[in-house]
Symmetry: C2
Subunit: 141 residues, 2 copies
DNA sequence: TAATAACGAATAATAGTTATCTATTTATAT
DNA sequence: ATATAAATAGATAACTATTATTCGTTATTA
């Protein structure tokens, strides 16, 4: 799996560095859709000299070569997801966690839009909002 | 229509000011989903002393009392929409315009998600991306 | 019309992100 | 392995959207 990243970076003319592999690995091993700040903090113990700018530059590259997707779930910062398959996301308005929604048929929905809009479609993002199971047990803030 | 806004502001304990009515009117008369900066510029000729902070505070209030909805179509700024009905949006990746998508059945899609997720759903936003009819005629940038 | 609570404008502050600069590191060909 | 050229990482400054603060002004209510 690390080879695939290495190969793709080289193929697209980017150099392979430990930082880039580490940042991708954080995303590949997480289902929490971390933000740049988040990735930075997770790597801090292992790469104490790495700067936040490096994280931003790297996720930009990873997005460009199609290894990750960028999420904008109405927060003040972006999140990143190594699962590039097309799937909706859901955010808990109480605790802020963002989860994947899998096994949902999105194709009929997309097909419907494709039929009706004069746009040529190239992509889409679906965001749901609500209260996660954990927070349903807590008193509403 | 202006009476509805006036009444709702008062009812919720907010004062009715010319600036607030003007900002709402800009949104109500537009299908372009303007940003705060945009609203500010449109009102500049008529309210030359109005500050951008006033626009931000006002859209926050308008959102709170349910007169508008806030869009986050993956740009660096938010957009505002006086059409609070639940409808998907589509953004042209070339020129940046954002259009409404109407007459789309979103309920089966939402129903499907409601069934599968353990979250309690409270809302959703659907964003499509592509190339608008105008830009399809232009050379790709 | 007076009292009071909220507001608008100006400004400063904040936060996320991007640009710049230079020493260092990677890739490639010897 | 090593030298070389190109790209990168880190530090820092800059930038932009948004939010907070302050104070004179205005809308509401009686």
């Amino acid at each position: 799996m690390e080879n695939r990243v290495t190969a793709l970076l080289r193929e697209k003319g980017f150099k392979v560095t430990p930082q880039r592999l580490a940042i991708y690995k954080v995303l590949a091993n997480s289902k929490a859709h971390p933000s740049a700040e988040n990735i930075f903090q997770q790597l801090q113990p292992y790469y104490p000299t790495m700067s936040l700018a490096t994280v931003y530059k790297t996720v930009e590259i990873l997005k460009e070569i199609g290894l990750i997707q960028v999420l904008n779930a109405g927060e003040d910062s972006f999140r990143y997801d190594a699962d590039t398959s097309m799937h909706p996301h859901i955010r808990c308005l109480q605790c802020g966690r963002v989860d994947d929604l899998h096994d949902i048929d999105i194709n009929t929905f997309i097909g419907q839009v494709a039929e009706k809009t004069p746009y040529r479609l190239t992509g889409q993002q679906f965001y749901f909002y609500g209260c996660c199971p954990v927070c349903q047990g807590k008193p509403a803030n």
